[in-house]
Symmetry: C2
Subunit: 131 residues, 2 copies
């Protein structure tokens, strides 16, 4: 795979700035409700797969591999639109989320306040899905 900037758009558009580590943060937002579901990281390959398949792909920093959201859990994200911020170093995926985005069973990974209060909705039993 080439590392040239010209590849970034894969069909034109914005040249995403993947920076020194090759990653940008991507926010997944429910396209219908506006709920922010999760934040993960995307490399060039993950963005290309997302655009080509219409399913959200990320790069797992812990497993060091391309990661299709929902490949294990079935809780996929169909991507309606990918947006880029003004500096082209952050992405916003507008998605149709099946089930819940969070491995804890919550609809959103942001299910707690910094004070520790639970504010998010639990939509599945993680032991049943991942157990």
């Amino acid at each position: 795979m080439s590392d040239t900037q010209a590849d970034a758009g894969s069909g034109g558009g914005i040249d995403v700035d993947f920076g020194e580590d090759g990653l940008v943060p991507a926010v997944a937002q429910d396209a219908d409700t506006g709920e922010v579901l999760m934040l993960a990281y995307v490399n060039r390959e993950a963005l290309e797969h997302t655009r080509e398949t219409g399913r959200a792909h990320y790069y797992s920093r812990s497993r060091e591999e391309l990661w299709e959201k929902g490949a294990t859990s079935g809780h996929t994200q169909m991507v309606e639109e990918v947006r880029v911020d003004c500096d082209a170093d952050a992405l916003l995926y507008l998605v149709d989320q099946t089930g819940g985005a969070c491995h804890t069973g919550h609809r959103s990974c942001f299910h707690r306040t910094v004070d520790g209060d639970e504010v998010g909705e639990r939509v599945f039993d993680p032991d049943a899905v991942y157990g």
Copy 2:
């Protein structure tokens, strides 16, 4: 300032994992409309200032300094709630945004699709604000 984990909550709650570089990504979302406004980075000091003042603070990686959103432009963000994700390494600020979040004059920094289409609303003239 101490670097101990016990300081993280500043009054209890979730210990945010600021990682090796001392930064976590923070998403600012309009508390009323749900619009995702911007993504920036937060260190421990910025989070403490945000919680103490109720105004959004970030850490500017380019200027290498604490940054109060709107200090120059007047386009401040009053923070209604700070949420933490499941891994405690990303934040969500629910904010009341004055004016626009983006230095380009748009309400949101995510005002373009990756294909280069303009989808965001322009709410101020940046030359008038920053010029």
